[in-house]
């Protein structure tokens, strides 16, 4: 059997600027990010033989290949379930490289999520089709339960009830992310930290979530170059070895409204991912120097700390209360500012930050980083990575 851990690496990262109005097409953003990632790796478009993106991306692999001048493709693949796809794209790429299906695969995500189609806005069409997803949505959308914030708020309310968690506990996550973004020039909220009081005073989106519990909406693109560890060692940058990569869905899983399972206070699909990551890498929470935890909404950052074993059930509020996830805390989370602070590129910008942390080139560099854990979208079928230094 081909073994995944350690045999592949992220050799290049690239991104456009993160904005609210890119002023150009999503395809152009994709091409720019792919060029930047290839330049970073020291590769040319002719070296690429595989492309992976999200099912939600509007730019077909062949269209990106045409713009960038990539020739023959031997591998192309899409990963489903919104932001849950992020680390899954790297998993697909790594599997293709490890099995010899492709040599160099670029993963990309490009969108005008703020100036174009906004995921945070209600879309009456999502419940309209009798596909399995349309039928699933039809148990919720007719009641006006149709925005990601509201879907997550339903879990958050039960979590608060079960563990005595408060809105301030969620707010501390937002404050930490904005603190990190404040010193990251690439972040939309560069130079704009917030206080817990400002979090509390921000308007309601879907109680118990305030505006500042919700990540921003962004235009931009990120691309990652995945190749064999052996080849990556000969390229321009130190490789970020893929020590583990996993996808996960749980029993009784729905897209984002898994309200019918026994418990609503955990993220079983992230538990699946976490167990696989620890098994594959032979590592555990104590071996991780910094983590990139998907932060589209603050409550699930707490749940992930518990689900991945960084603390016990119901203990994340204490973990966070002492500044535990801040840059100088016991587990710095999202040193780039996350999606709450840097940009919402559906989790791909977090993978790029993980690579910078491994290289030692982040603007908010954590000391002596050996291993970084990365997660993808929460509340949906998801994915994760452990990246490691040589």
């Amino acid at each position: 059997m081909v073994s995944l851990p350690g045999s592949t690496a992220v050799a290049g990262i690239g991104a456009t600027e993160f904005s609210k109005q890119s002023g150009r097409s999503e395809l152009q953003l994709a091409a720019e990010a792919v060029f930047a990632a290839l330049d970073d790796a020291g590769l040319s478009p002719s070296d690429v033989d595989g492309l992976v993106t999200y099912t939600q991306d509007t730019n077909q692999e062949i269209a990106v290949a045409r713009e960038v001048g990539i020739g023959d493709l031997t591998f192309f693949s899409r990963v489903h379930y919104g932001g849950g796809a992020a680390c899954g794209t790297v998993l697909h790429a790594a599997m293709a490289v490890a099995t010899g299906v492709a040599e160099t695969v670029v993963c990309y995500r490009a969108f005008n999520e703020r100036s174009g189609r906004r995921f945070g806005q209600p879309d009456a069409r999502i419940g309209g089709e009798p596909s399995s997803q349309g039928l699933e949505m039809s148990w919720h959308v007719p009641y006006g339960l149709m925005t990601p914030a509201a879907w997550v708020a339903m879990f958050a309310r039960r979590y608060m009830h079960a563990y005595g968690v408060t809105s301030e506990d969620f707010g501390r996550v937002a404050v930490a992310m904005r603190r990190h973004a404040a010193t990251n020039p690439a972040a939309w909220f560069h130079g704009r930290p917030i206080t817990l009081e400002e979090h509390q005073a921000s308007r309601w989106i879907a109680e118990p979530l305030h505006l500042l519990d919700c990540c921003q909406e962004s235009d931009g693109a990120v691309a990652l170059v995945v190749t064999s560890a052996e080849r990556a060692r000969d390229l321009r940058r130190s490789p970020a070895l893929i020590s583990a990569a996993a996808q996960g869905a749980g029993a009784g899983q729905l897209m984002m409204t898994s309200y019918y399972r026994d418990d609503m206070t955990g993220l079983p699909e992230m538990g699946v991912v976490g167990r696989r990551l620890w098994e594959q890498s032979g590592l555990g929470p104590a071996d991780i120097q910094t983590a990139i935890l998907y932060d589209h909404f603050t409550p699930f950052v707490l749940t992930q700390l518990e689900e991945l074993g960084f603390c016990g059930r119901g203990e994340a509020r204490d973990f966070v209360a002492g500044g535990g996830i801040e840059i100088d805390g016991r587990l710095p989370v999202n040193p780039h500012g996350g999606q709450l602070g840097e940009a919402y590129i559906h989790g791909m910008n977090g993978i790029a930050e993980a690579v910078r942390q491994i290289r030692g080139t982040s603007v908010n560099q954590v000391a002596a980083v050996r291993n970084v854990l990365v997660t993808a979208g929460t509340g949906v079928p998801t994915s994760g990575l452990v990246l490691s230094a040589e």
């Binding site: 609210k20 109005q21 703020r114 945070g120 806005q121 209600p122 009456a124 419940g127 309209g128 089709e129 009798p130 596909s131 349309g134 039928l135 699933e136 949505m137 039809s138 148990w139 919720h140 959308v141 007719p142 009641y143 006006g144 339960l145 149709m146 925005t147 509201a150 708020a153 339903m154 879990f155 309310r157 039960r158 009830h161 005073a201 921000s202 308007r203 309601w204 989106i205 879907a206 109680e207 118990p208 505006l211 921003q216 909406e217 409204t257 309200y259 019918y260 609503m264």
Partner: protein, 319 residues
């Protein structure tokens, strides 16, 4: 609306107003540009104000000001957001009140008062920061436009930390008079469920005023949401039971933003646990959102959304 519902709405609005008053002054985003000559020149030209102290450095040097100053009445211009919102606007304590009024049918708006006080002239290069205080809600009042509420707020502009101008602003948010329509004509409800052969029984039941739970005809397992194959015994033989119609709120959200088509905000959506052992999602209605809580006992009710669709919803059991 019934008289009780009107009274509830009024109480909710006044409670919201009280909370927003308590929020106090909230600082907004600093002006995109400092006080500057090009904008002054455009404004003065548009207003037909030829006073050279606003545009002519030499004339201004010889005036009491000693330098160019901005026309005081321009005060709002400096911090007014552009037509294209870029996401950098700050929220103010007024937003929630206006949104609540919009959501309650007071969708019309007309400005009624604007009183500005200028503490001193502004010089070129000063960068202003607005700060907003919500100060009052009064109503409902009958007006020629329709019934409405007067909403009042104050903006203070700061240069550094010095207040340089104040403004009291008041609008009337009113319910536009309804045009007479035929009583049977209903707007189609925009949030329709997709229905197929696996789920049709549920919606047909709702149409008859029955809440149905799928039951496996072989092993008897109850299941919601329903599906074509029993996950316990693989049977495709399905039947259903009529639920008792009571339940308990297991979790809930109060949706405020963004607006949802076919709905006025805020509204409550809950996961309701039924004594039969399944959960179902629905709205909690006829109950102020702040009175909804986990563990609340509810019973089913049915609401006609348009000519075709009926939705099961939940009301407090004691009502």
């Amino acid at each position: 609306m019934t008289a009780t519902a009107e009274a509830d709405l009024h109480d909710r609005l006044m409670a919201l107003a009280e909370r927003q008053i308590a929020v106090g002054e909230v600082r907004g985003v600093a002006a995109a540009d400092p006080v500057n000559l090009p904008m002054i020149r455009h404004w003065a030209a548009a207003m037909g104000d030829a006073n050279p102290v606003y545009t002519d450095a030499e004339a201004a040097a010889g005036s009491a000001h000693g330098e160019i100053v901005a026309p005081p009445a321009m005060i709002q211009v400096w911090t007014m957001p552009g037509v294209v919102r870029d996401g950098r606007q700050a929220t103010t304590p007024v937003d929630d009140v206006l949104r609540a009024l919009d959501g309650s049918g007071y969708t019309g708006v007309v400005a009624t008062n604007c009183e500005q006080t200028y503490h001193r002239y502004l010089r070129l290069g000063e960068r202003l920061v607005p700060a907003t205080r919500f100060t009052g809600l009064a109503g409902p009042k009958r007006t020629a436009l329709g019934e409405g509420y007067f909403v009042t707020w104050n903006i203070t502009w700061y240069s550094q930390d010095e207040p340089v101008a104040d403004m009291l602003f008041r609008v009337l948010k009113f319910r536009p008079r309804e045009r007479k329509t035929k009583p049977e004509a209903r707007e189609p409800y925009p949030l329709k469920p997709a229905i197929n052969r696996d789920t049709a029984f549920f919606w047909e039941g709702v149409g008859r005023g029955e809440l149905l739970i799928q039951r496996c005809a072989d092993c008897g397992e109850l299941r919601h949401p329903p599906g074509p194959v029993c996950p316990s015994c693989r049977s495709v033989e399905r039947t259903h039971v009529v639920a008792s119609g009571v339940g308990e709120v297991y979790s809930y959200v109060v949706h405020h933003n963004p607006p949802v088509p076919g709905r006025s905000t805020p509204f409550v959506v809950a996961v309701v646990e039924l004594p039969e052992g399944v959960r179902i999602v629905g709205n909690v209605v006829d109950c102020p959102p702040e009175e909804v809580g986990i563990g609340m006992q509810v019973r089913v009710t049915y609401r006609q959304m348009d000519d075709e669709l009926i939705l099961p919803m939940w009301v407090p059991q004691e009502s």
